[in-house]
């Protein structure tokens, strides 16, 4: 998967699961202020990403530091690269 494909997969999964407005899916969109997600959604987001990318997310500290959609993109791209290098 290219980085663009990863970003597209993330955006589509989040739009579908959280009924988000596609027009608001910008890298600098703040998860709480712009996309109006709440703390429970952040837990659900981990499940959604795990299902979309078929890997386990155990990096609790990094997840807690996520603030924007771009942070999610970067986290998943980094994680995908690590898995690719490891396999």
């Amino acid at each position: 998967m290219t980085d663009d494909e990863i970003i597209d997969t993330i955006n589509r999964a989040l739009v579908k699961e959280f009924e988000l407005d596609k027009k608001k899916m910008l890298s600098d969109a703040h998860l709480f202020d712009t996309l109006e997600l709440d703390s429970l959604d952040m837990v659900d987001m981990v499940i959604v990403l795990e299902n979309a990318f078929k890997f386990k997310i155990t990096e609790e500290k990094e997840i807690r530091e996520i603030r924007t959609l771009g942070d999610i993109h970067n986290f998943v791209i980094k994680k995908s690269n690590e898995i690719r290098k490891g396999s």
């Binding site: 009924e19 709440d38 703390s39 429970l40 959604d41 659900d44 499940i47």
Partner: protein, 250 residues
């Protein structure tokens, strides 16, 4: 006819608001005495007495508003809604909560965002009724309080959209109510409301006559929704039920 339309708008506003203010003032004045009466005569629980007062207030609202809304309610006969349960309803207007006077029981705890708690004339009643300010409480605190309410035989009422609809369309549903259902094993009862968005939508300060309909759907039990995605699937299922019914009711 514009004249008839304007006249009915004038009539509803000149009738409903003064009566609502009067009912609120009378309620504030007599409630301490009524509270003492219930406490001394029946030795009832403080929280349940206040929730009963709120329910009676809702009944008063229904009496005031019915001539202007032709209110129809179905699914609210005693025994049709299991208790304890978690009621979720779509949200169109400030007055949606007032219409909960249609419920066949009074021990209802509203879980709301912070702003309704800021209305000075309702605040003491909301605090005494132990309504949940879900914006202020953490998730763990909300879940603990919800478990207590339900285990004590109460009914929890939430707006899963969190906000009133700005365009009449149903917003996204948040997961809290469904996580509570799965965590406590009490059912969700979906409620559908239409017409209150025409009566008083967000951003308008005067009422317009509107046909208001409220319907309680069959309970949805959490045992059918298992696994870590259970609450997400339950949320989607309940939202689809409400959306379909709201479409039929319009």
């Amino acid at each position: 006819m514009p004249f008839a339309g304007n006249f009915s708008i004038l009539l509803i506003n000149l009738t409903v608001f003064p009566l609502l203010i009067l009912m609120t003032l009378v309620g504030i004045i007599i409630s301490p005495f009524a509270f003492l009466f219930f406490k001394l005569i029946g030795n009832l629980d403080r929280v349940k007495i206040i929730r009963y007062f709120v329910w009676i207030y809702g009944k008063g609202w229904l009496a005031i508003i019915k001539p202007f809304t032709g209110l129809t309610a179905s699914g609210f006969r005693r025994g049709e809604i299991p208790t304890p349960c978690i009621i979720v309803l779509n949200h169109l207007s400030f007055f949606d909560t007032f219409f909960m006077g249609v419920l066949p029981f009074s021990n209802v705890c509203f879980a709301l965002r912070s702003w309704p708690f800021k209305m000075a004339w309702y605040h003491p009643f909301m605090k005494l009724a132990q309504y949940l300010d879900v914006e202020r409480l953490s998730w763990d605190e909300t879940l603990t309080a919800s478990k207590k309410i339900l285990n004590d035989g109460g009914v929890l009422l939430l707006f899963p959209e969190a906000h009133r609809s700005r365009d009449g369309r149903m917003g996204r549903f948040y997961s809290g109510a469904f996580k509570i259902s799965i965590s406590t094993n009490y059912p969700i009862v979906p409620l559908c409301i239409t017409g209150t968005g025409e009566l008083l939508p967000p951003g308008r300060w005067y009422l317009k006559p509107a046909k208001v309909k409220i319907k309680a759907l069959a309970p949805v039990y959490p045992d059918a929704f298992t696994g870590e995605n259970g609450h997400i699937e339950m949320r989607k299922h309940v939202k689809a039920l409400i959306a379909d019914e709201v479409e039929r009711m319009r």
